[in-house]
């Protein structure tokens, strides 16, 4: 006399208070890796993200070698009205993804090199975000007191600014400062640097909060107290004791900030801020294609799709990493 109650879901774990698995000691890193190995979605996302990065690294080399020619002007593939000849923006055996209208740029090469620049901007902005966030978060959490209060207000202040508007409005002034005061070469370098800087400068507060929270829990742990009582310099504690314990948030947030900044670059390009053509970024390719949405929709969908895939891959990777390292954090 028995009834089996079954539901299709296979993911649920046993009830509270029972830990079914072996309770052998495992480092968080091992646990995270075990978790990741089973998370197929994250693994696929990771592979795509790495592929994107590899393409980003390869593109400038291939471009130098003349294999992809992202700024070659193939006027001969355009009609007299400047539209690519043939369907799918003129895709053919020699131009796998066709050429762009008006300029006749090979789309494959352009998207590849665009990935390079978009990833570079996103990576640069992420680096600035993480460095700023880590410094402010660590000092804030470790020193506490008034310093913490002041940094807290700076975070409030930073969050008050409308990011996109500031990025747009500051572009003229700050690019000018970069070129005239800091002698950054004009064009792609200055514009790209500007995008990185400003994205990073407005993006750090969230990360600072995360780091601050982590440092608050670390501060009272034995090894920090020990270092403190041994009279280690504060700098040494930050670098030798705290930083090595913060690698997980660094890893997780790198993969969460990357997609955010890839999207931001596209949004900025739509407002004509950031690196301008002929130097390609995914954003400015998309921006160039916007007016062709009706007449050459392939030209529009190609960069749109690359952006969506990259952003999706990094987002999934970041979510997966966060689940692996901090299952309780939830997906936000």
């Amino acid at each position: 006399m028995s009834v089996i109650i079954e539901s299709p879901d296979a993911a649920s774990a046993p009830g509270q208070g029972d830990s079914p698995k072996e309770i052998q000691g495992r480092s968080p890193r091992q646990l995270a890796w075990m978790h990741l190995k089973r998370d197929r979605v994250t693994l696929i996302a990771g592979v795509i993200a790495i592929l994107g990065i590899l393409i980003g690294i390869a593109a400038p080399i291939l471009s130098k070698l003349g294999v992809i020619g992202p700024t070659d002007n193939h006027q001969n593939l355009l009609s007299s009205a400047g539209m690519p000849i043939g369907a799918f923006t003129g895709a053919s055996g020699s131009q796998l993804l066709g050429v762009s209208p008006a300029n006749g740029y090979p789309m494959l090469g352009r998207l590849m090199l665009g990935t390079t620049y978009s990833l570079a901007i996103a990576l640069g902005a992420t680096a600035i975000t993480l460095i700023l966030g880590a410094i402010i978060g660590m000092v804030s959490g470790f020193v506490g007191g008034k310093v913490d209060f002041v940094f807290g207000r700076i975070i409030d202040l930073t969050l008050c600014f409308p990011q996109t508007l500031m990025l747009l409005a500051l572009s003229a002034t700050l690019v000018e400062v970069l070129t005239s005061t800091f002698h950054v070469p004009t064009g792609a370098t200055a514009n790209g640097l500007y995008a990185m800087l400003v994205l990073g400068l407005f993006g750090w507060p969230n990360f600072a909060r995360v780091i601050r929270g982590q440092v608050l829990t670390l501060r009272n742990r034995e090894f920090v107290e020990a270092a403190n009582s041994l009279g280690s310099s504060t700098m040494r504690i930050y670098i030798r004791e705290l930083l090595p314990n913060l690698w997980a948030p660094f890893l997780v947030y790198t993969s969460l900030y990357m997609p955010q900044y890839i999207s931001a670059e596209a949004a900025l390009a739509f407002l004509n801020v950031g690196i301008q053509p002929p130097t390609p970024t995914l954003g400015n390719i998309l921006n160039d294609s916007v007016s062709y949405i009706q007449t050459d929709s392939t030209f529009f969908f190609e960069p749109a799709l690359v952006i969506v895939i990259l952003v999706l891959a990094f987002n999934l990777l970041g979510d997966g990493l966060r689940d692996a390292f901090d299952p309780k954090a939830g997906r936000r």
Binding site: M1, P14, G15, Q16, G17, D18, P20, K21
Partner: protein
């Protein structure tokens, strides 16, 4: 069975003359990516009205899961529950979800381990207790429910209930919260109360108060109680019978008197040895059981306890490692162990834990034959 408090709603009188609760071969399995977790694997016991059963074991031994199964809380989840739960003459495995829901809180109530997390943070304590009353008394007015709640709060010893009723859980102390949980569980005058580690989160004096409260209320309401705990002291205090669980299976069953006096299973010895006792000298150290509970996915072959059992080599033929012992009847008790009474006596001689020699000889058995 009826008490003055439950007169407004007629319940079926005891339909059966049998035990209040009869659990037979209860199994709760959770399929996971790594395999099936057998949290509870063949638990059987009976419980009479007004009696108290203590279920004991380390964490992960399946005590909480089996009580959840009796409450039907795994319905609708991935858990696979099988076996038989005969409650008050009804087979709970066959009742509909709605019938089960009506039973819950009304005939079977439960008290949980951590009263802070078990109470909803956004509702007042009074509202949460009253809700338990109103879902089973749809005709009762809000006012009735409130009065009834006030009465219960008073009964469980919460001072100034009129004020406390409108407070939130976070405004209560730990002990007060557990009293509120007790009030919530008893408001419908249940026939069976399951208390899952009701005192673990409390400090010792409060523990005692809560246990006293439960005992006195049991006297008043004539409820049967299952108390789940890893604390043998609690069992000794309140329970009539004891069920010791290990790795999802019962390893020893019997009355509290007998079992405490003459534990038959090495695991029970271990539990008893790890319990601080007043009659021990303070300098004696407690003996924790070595090793960890096994994985519920891959149980050790043979006796599940064998890797941690210091006496496994006493059983000839490496039987402990290869053959799984059944629950042998040993006098009034049952134990899942191959050891002979002879072995027990010898071990007792070497240890402080003392299986009584008289009883052992009286229950002589040829275990090797039985297990063959």
């Amino acid at each position: 069975m009826s008490t003055p408090l439950t007169k407004e709603q007629g319940r079926p009188a005891d339909a059966q003359s049998g035990p209040l609760l009869q659990v037979d071969d209860l199994k709760v399995h959770f399929p996971t990516d790594d395999g099936v977790v057998k949290s509870v694997d063949g638990v059987s016991f009976t419980l009479e009205k007004g009696q108290t059963l203590g279920i004991v074991g380390e964490s992960g031994s399946g005590k909480s899961v089996s009580s959840s199964a009796i409450m039907g809380l795994q319905r609708g989840t991935s858990a696979r529950v099988s076996g038989s739960i005969l409650f008050d003459g009804r087979e709970l495995m066959e009742v509909s979800d709605e019938e089960y829901r009506e039973l819950r809180g009304q005939d079977i109530a439960m008290i949980f381990q951590d009263p802070l997390s078990a109470l909803h943070p956004y509702y007042t304590v009074g509202a949460q207790i009253a809700e338990g009353y109103r879902v089973h008394h749809p005709d009762a007015s809000k006012k009735d429910a409130r009065n009834r709640t006030l009465e219960m709060l008073g009964k469980v010893g919460i001072p100034n209930p009129a004020r406390r009723i409108d407070q939130y859980p976070h405004e209560f102390s730990g002990g007060m919260r557990q009293r509120a949980m007790v009030a919530m569980a008893l408001i419908n005058d249940p026939k069976l109360l399951i208390a899952d580690e009701p005192t673990t989160a409390l400090d010792v004096t409060v523990q005692a108060q809560i246990l006293d409260l439960m005992v006195s209320l049991q006297d008043e309401f004539r409820s049967a109680i299952i108390i789940i705990t890893h604390d043998l002291g609690v069992v000794a205090d309140v329970a009539d019978d004891i069920l010791v669980m290990y790795a999802g299976r019962p390893v020893e069953k019997g009355t509290v008197m007998d079992t405490f006096a003459r534990p038959k299973h090495p695991y029970t010895w271990g539990l008893l040895a790890s319990m601080p006792r007043l009659d021990q000298e303070r300098t004696d150290k407690l003996d924790p059981i070595p090793g960890n509970p096994p994985s519920l996915i891959n149980l050790p072959t043979g006796c599940a306890f064998n890797p941690r059992c210091a006496h496994r080599d006493r059983v000839p033929g490496d039987k402990c490692r290869t053959v799984e012992p059944e629950l042998f009847q040993i006098g009034t008790q049952q134990a899942r162990c191959f050891l002979t009474d002879q072995d027990r006596t010898e071990i007792a001689a070497a240890h402080d834990v003392s299986p009584d020699a008289h009883d052992v000889s009286a229950d002589a058995h040829d275990r090797s034959q039985e297990s063959a």
